[in-house]
């Protein structure tokens, strides 16, 4: 057999199996990654791709199976072993220290002696070589906090190469990037490939697989269900393979007439304790029966806008009206009052805001509505009523498993999101704020969530959607607003918008 293999695979997994309690996360996965290629691993959330890569990187131990690197069987007991084998991982969330310079971040964990000076000098030389060889230039003395997100990611990649990695695993690398930055990242990956580095790209975005990879492995329910050469396949086939059935992501939307204005902001501004302007003179109008999408790169004020509108933070200046009731600095709103006015809010970060991980699903299903009927009667929570309410939401929104008594954290991301969305929509709000409706949600659930949002719009609800996924904004919104540095920098009609112009606006370049 060995003789028949022309070159040893960069990585070969043989029969990898891993269970967490009753959850069988990875089921007998075998795959081969050729050296000097970009290989994509695509799958829905919970398909097991992150677990598989964590096993490869030594973060988890497989229950059974073998890992071969460069033709040799290896033991991956910890990330230290993986690094020794030349495997490096770039995590979705950067592991950088903001107040350190690039160089200082680089030598973290590889300081090279009791005095820093020697290590720093050696690192500086090595960084120059990497920059030359791979075309990855970053100012070594810049503070990480001052770098753009794209540059920070480059530092992460450099960190991995600095440790001598020849195999690079990237976990959802584009989550925080603009389309332009993503393109630049793919250019870097292609350069790395030309220099002989093997790249493994984990993502749930079909577009990125098509744009960047040579081969793609599709995972579903812990198994590799297909392997394709990227040139031989297309987005539709991959989506179908991922979900296991036909998926329709395009929405049939009937145009709706002009409804009354339910939410209006005037000169709305927010300045934080350090004097940073997070929101700057925001003026938007939201009418009944329309979906307004706010596009923008994470961190340009969208989160703050949602928080102010939901009553969580008070504006520093300006005012807004919700269904005719004014909120300004003299009359601050709070989340409970906003709910009374008919505003519902699906928060961006459901785990941190929208639910309590340790609570039962039924408890999560009343968060924000716990005071008063039908859940509280005679000062006591009505347990059966809460359970029945949750069961009803689960039925209507197809939340699986249908167990109101299960801990909220034991549901998958998509099902958690459906539960939160169900809770907010079930109240028939007049204004619905939705932050990142499908972050960390699998394709099957995306389809469902989008249809529910359109349904809410059709029934006369005014919907404001904030999302970093341009596709989502483009397909959902009736009007698109672009935010940059706390300001609304432009309004675009979805029919006339394309990713390039939106991307430029998101990056702060003025629209033509």
């Amino acid at each position: 057999m060995q003789a028949l293999t022309p070159a040893a695979a960069a990585i070969e997994l043989r029969g990898i199996d891993k269970s967490f309690g009753v959850v069988h996360a990875v089921r007998g996965v075998s795959l081969r990654i050729e050296p000097g290629t970009i290989t994509g691993i695509i799958g829905e959330n919970g398909a097991g791709k992150s677990t598989l890569m964590s096993i490869l990187y030594g973060l988890y131990r497989a229950d059974s199976g073998e890992i071969w690197v460069g033709g040799q069987p290896v033991e991956m007991a910890s990330p230290r072993d993986a690094i020794a084998q030349g495997i490096g991982m770039v995590h979705q969330h950067f592991m950088l220290i903001d107040t350190f310079t690039v160089l200082e971040n680089l030598i973290l964990g590889a300081e090279g002696g009791p005095l820093l000076a020697g290590g720093l000098a050696a690192a500086r030389a090595e960084l120059a070589r990497l920059a030359r060889d791979y075309g990855l230039s970053v100012d070594p003395d810049a503070r990480v906090a001052d770098l753009s997100v794209g540059e920070q990611q480059r530092v992460e990649i450099l960190k991995v190469l600095f440790r001598g990695a020849r195999i690079l695993i990237l976990d959802e690398p584009s989550a925080v990037l603009t389309p332009q930055e993503t393109d630049r990242l793919f250019d870097i990956l292609r350069t790395l490939k030309e220099r002989g580095v093997t790249v493994v790209l984990i993502t749930h975005k079909l577009r990125e697989i098509m744009a960047a990879t040579d081969r793609v492995h599709v995972m579903r329910q812990g198994q590799i269900v297909a392997e394709r050469r990227t040139v031989d396949t297309g987005s539709e086939e991959l989506a179908e393979l991922m979900v296991g059935r036909k998926v329709r992501l395009d929405l049939d939307k009937v145009p709706v007439g002009q409804g009354e204005i339910l939410l209006r902001t005037e000169h709305l501004s927010l300045v934080d304790d350090r004097g940073v302007r997070l929101l700057d003179d925001i003026g938007i109008e939201l009418r009944a029966g329309e979906i307004v999408g706010i596009a923008g790169v994470t961190g340009n004020g969208q989160s703050e806008l949602l928080q102010v509108l939901a009553g969580i933070r008070a504006p520093s200046a300006g005012r807004f009206t919700v269904c005719g009731h004014a909120i300004d600095t003299g009359h601050p709103g709070d989340p409970a009052r906003m709910r009374e006015l008919g505003l519902a809010h699906v928060p961006e970060d459901r785990l941190r805001q929208g639910m309590v991980a340790a609570f039962q699903a039924s408890e999560t299903s009343i968060l924000g509505y716990q005071d008063g009927p039908p859940f509280t009667r005679n000062y006591l929570l009505d347990g059966p009523a809460v359970g029945a309410h949750c069961a009803e939401l689960m039925e209507r929104f197809d939340v699986r498993p249908r167990s109101p008594g299960l801990r909220s954290s034991h549901f998958s991301g998509g099902n958690q999101q459906k539960l939160v969305l169900a809770r907010e929509i079930a109240r028939r709000p007049r204004v619905l704020l939705v932050g990142q409706p499908t972050r960390g949600v699998d394709i099957g659930a995306i389809e469902f969530i989008h249809r529910e949002l359109v349904k809410a719009r059709d029934s006369g609800c005014a919907v404001l959607v904030v999302s970093v996924e341009l596709d989502e904004i483009l397909s959902l919104a009736d009007r698109i607003l672009v935010m940059f540095a706390g300001r609304i920098v432009g309004e675009v009609e979805p029919r006339r918008a394309d990713e390039r112009t939106l991307g430029l606006m998101m990056a702060g370049a003025q629209a033509a």
Partner: protein, 340 residues
């Protein structure tokens, strides 16, 4: 299962230490158990101690569910005693027991809550960390009580710093000859009340939401400052009931240092009881038994001192708290082998 294994492990280590001192560990264990549970009298003492531990354990548990670490149970218990004592000293000449006792219990709760409210306010509005402020308030409470007892409340002509005795209308019904009194019923009622409050009222729901995830609580419309005040006042009131058990039930006058140690032990009780009222009750019974059995043990065997009993308590805390999950893999392995 796991708590029992933890306690067993603690006892094994204690046994080894006792053997090193030169005492037969089995004899010591027998003395400990019979000292705590061997007679009606010893059971009465055990339950009396357990009553105090229940109050302070519940106090810590309620605050903990709100994400607050109240280690000021000591001071709150002290002030609770002052509260019920003042109420009785002021009113026991005029009011009958059925009216005075509820007023005095309410006063204990009010004073305990007030003593917890100040650190809570400092945390909610000024951002002062509650761990620091509650522990400092223990010292303030102690100094305040000494001042009051020595200079203000001391019974005329008395040589010791204690108030005049309470009239019978200010004394809780007790079992003759024992310190066990009606406070035990109050403790059981508090367990039930805390359970209902935390899991069956919207305020308890909001309180637990804040403890698990403050951001979600804000999102859900909870005012964190008000909820911090509520949680700490409840916690302080529960700790204040130690004063009811000690002063109205046993001493029948205001004395110094009646609360000594119960406030801090409450942390261990809550930890062992996993912050659940039923668990707190069971842990309080264990600590009560250790307190009583330990006293008997120290009395019977001179080489085992009071400090030794504290060591036993400490080891139980260590094994059921810090090392709580140490035996889990062994247990799992054991059950996995026995299961087909």
């Amino acid at each position: 299962m796991l708590p029992l294994v933890n306690i067993a492990l603690a006892f094994i280590v204690v046994g080894i230490i006792v053997a090193i001192i030169g005492v037969d560990p089995f004899l010591a264990l027998r003395l400990l158990v019979t000292g705590a549970l061997g007679s009606w009298e010893s059971i009465g003492y055990t339950l009396y101690y357990a009553t105090n531990f229940t109050f302070t354990g519940l106090a810590v548990a309620v605050a903990f569910h709100a994400g607050l670490f109240n280690i000021g149970g000591e001071g709150q218990a002290y002030l609770g005693g002052l509260g019920c004592g003042l109420a009785i000293l002021a009113l026991d000449r005029w009011l009958p027991a059925w009216l005075l006792i509820p007023i005095a219990i309410a006063a204990a709760a009010l004073f305990g809550a007030a003593w917890a409210a100040v650190p809570a306010w400092l945390q909610a509005w000024r951002g002062s960390h509650i761990v620091i402020t509650t522990i400092m308030f223990n010292f303030v409470a102690s100094a305040l009580m000494v001042y009051l007892m020595v200079n203000v409340l001391i019974a005329p002509g008395s040589m010791t710093p204690q108030s005049r005795g309470f009239a019978p209308s200010g004394q809780l019904p007790a079992i003759a000859g024992l310190p066990l009194n009606l406070s035990l019923a109050l403790a059981l009622a508090c367990c039930a009340g805390v359970w209902v409050f935390l899991w069956h009222t919207p305020w308890g729901y909001a309180l637990r939401t804040m403890g698990h995830n403050p951001e979600a609580a804000v999102y859900g419309g909870t005012n964190l400052r008000r909820m911090t005040m509520l949680a700490m006042c409840l916690s302080g009131a529960l700790a204040g009931f130690v004063g009811v058990n000690e002063l109205m039930g046993v001493h029948h006058r205001i004395v110094l240092d009646f609360q000594a140690g119960y406030g801090f032990a409450g942390i261990a009780v809550a930890l062992m009881g996993r912050n659940h009222p039923l668990g707190v009750l069971l842990a309080a019974l264990l600590f009560g038994a250790l307190q009583q059995g330990g006293a008997e043990l120290a009395f019977e065997i001179p080489s085992i001192t009071r400090e030794m009993v504290v060591v036993i308590q400490g080891l139980i805390i260590l094994f059921s708290g810090a090392l709580a999950h140490l035996p889990r893999p062994w247990l799992q392995a054991l059950f996995a082998r026995r299961a087909p």
